[in-house]
């Protein structure tokens, strides 16, 4: 159930160029949020920026009653948030949306992250560790350059089978993460029904993931973004087109959708 509450900043850690990890205190979110949910944050008290900004829940700490948000500075709102200090108070709506459906037992799980797409997948991964056989857990992580790659060490420590690409080849395989993923899928053509894929990343990447999923009839859940005004399903400002020609709302009908169900442009 979506709730509105204030939350104080526990810490703000700079992880890379323009990338920050905010830890926010909220027993409510830490208990209720599921991987794939997001929070809608009021950035400040002036009318500029006016609307809230959406961020995936990046991880939760039920003991401490806190959760994390991974954010990249792309404009004014994220810029202001990146300057928050411990003790600052934020107004939040959350948890919002339908999260990822967890994999059935025995399935091979592939997580495919592009850039900041790692934000919700990290939370998902942390939920899977211990429940899924390590050899059946593959993590694909792509970024533009080495500098934008996050958590490579942590991912290895967690024991996930890590596959990495960078656009410029500065780390891992040179190329797009979707190409590496497709190669892997082609190799497993015959047991594609035993796969469960989860993905998040920039629009072009998710479009490609949707095409691949449709082509191989993969069970693939993608977490979408979109301009969000209300964030609670009221304004119909965040539609995603479905194969049947109608729209669903990214905020409350998603943000996680079956990649075969949606039409991305």
């Amino acid at each position: 159930m979506i709730s509105q509450f204030t939350s104080s900043v526990v810490s703000n850690q700079k992880l890379g160029e323009k990338i920050f990890k905010l830890t926010l205190s909220s027993p409510y979110i830490s208990k209720r949020a599921k991987p794939g949910n997001f929070v809608h944050i009021k950035v400040g008290s002036t009318y500029s920026p006016l609307l809230r900004r959406a961020f995936s829940v990046h991880n939760v700490d039920k003991q401490k009653g806190s959760f994390e948000v991974l954010l990249k500075v792309v404009g004014r709102g994220t810029g202001i948030l990146s300057e928050k200090s411990p003790g600052d108070i934020l107004d939040l709506l959350g948890p919002i949306g339908k999260g990822f459906s967890l994999p059935q037992e025995g399935k091979t799980v592939m997580l495919v992250a592009g850039g900041m797409g790692i934000a919700p997948l990290w939370f998902l991964l942390n939920n899977l560790i211990g429940k899924t056989d390590k050899e059946k857990l593959l993590f694909f992580s792509g970024a533009k350059t080495e500098k934008e790659l996050l958590y490579c060490e942590n991912l290895k420590d967690l024991g996930a089978n890590l596959m990495v690409t960078t656009d410029d080849g500065s780390f891992g395989t040179k190329g797009l993460i979707t190409d590496l993923f497709l190669k892997e899928i082609k190799g497993r053509k015959n047991d594609s029904s035993k796969l469960m894929v989860y993905s998040c990343g920039p629009p072009e990447m998710l479009k490609r993931m949707s095409e691949i999923s449709k082509g191989y009839d993969l069970s693939c859940q993608i977490s979408l973004e979109g301009n969000m005004a209300c964030g609670v399903g009221a304004c119909w400002g965040c539609p995603v087109k479905l194969e049947n020609g109608w729209y669903k709302r990214v905020c409350v009908d998603g943000p996680v959708f079956d990649a075969r169900e949606v039409v991305l442009e």
Binding site: K42, Y47, N227, A229, G231, C235, C238, P239
Partner: protein, 308 residues
Amino acid sequence: MVSGSSHLSVKIAGVEFSNPVLVASGTFGYGEEYESLFDLSKLGGIVTKSITLEPREGHPPPRTFETSCGMLNAIGLANVGVERFIKEKLPFLKSLKTRIIVNVAGSTVSEYEEVVKRLNRSKGIDMLEINISCPNVKEGGIAFGSKVKSAYECIKAVRKNSSYPIIAKLSPNVTDIVEVAHAVKKAGADAISLINTLVGMAVDVERRRPLLANITGGLSGPAIKPVALAMVWKVAKAVKVPVIGLGGIMNTEDALEFILAGASMIQVGTANFVDPQTSIKIVDGLSEYCKKKGIRKITDLVGKLKAD
């Protein structure tokens, strides 16, 4: 249902509201979306998303874009259509202890008439708000309600068919709002709400494309408050009809500005997105203001602007 004793209660077109604060069409869905966030019965009333005859899927994305102190939207009247509205959405709304105003839209006068006829058969509706601001193909993309004649005809036809009191919701994209207000009053509108959104646009310089798929959209939010206030003031002064003011209302002080300028009631739109509790904060704020200033009834403030 609604007690009339409070200092905030207000009556327009024979309908009594517990307070003058409504939530605006299109910004509050069908009410249910905000149920988990506060007690909806505290509202003066809820205005639904515009309802059309058939379900509408709406415009392709992107449908919204934030601008300086405002936002653009081109939702394209996405809604479930009148039949599903009555079956699936109205029961929840009826269950609330607040007034329900159904906002009606259409592409032709007969579509408006047909929606209204179907709503007539439903119980639990208190008023209709007629959105005559939809761009019309026949008039070259100019909104239906922007021309005096078509505004008059539309409201006249709705009035003839409606068993409910009707509010005509006016478009601000006109040369002379008073002229349009006079026309819809003459056509039988029991009240007038203004303003709907201003036509606006934004450009993605990088991609050289409009930022809304529909190219233009409606501008709302604090940016447009001065425009809304001027129109409310002009209409309230010139036309003897209850005026419902909206456009950029974010807090109690904004609401008071509209009331002083002549609005009997106000609506909260875009502010619901910024802070879902805006409307009930305003209800509380108005109540406190009245107490502090020794005002017996909020209606005593309506149009009390000293402008000479």
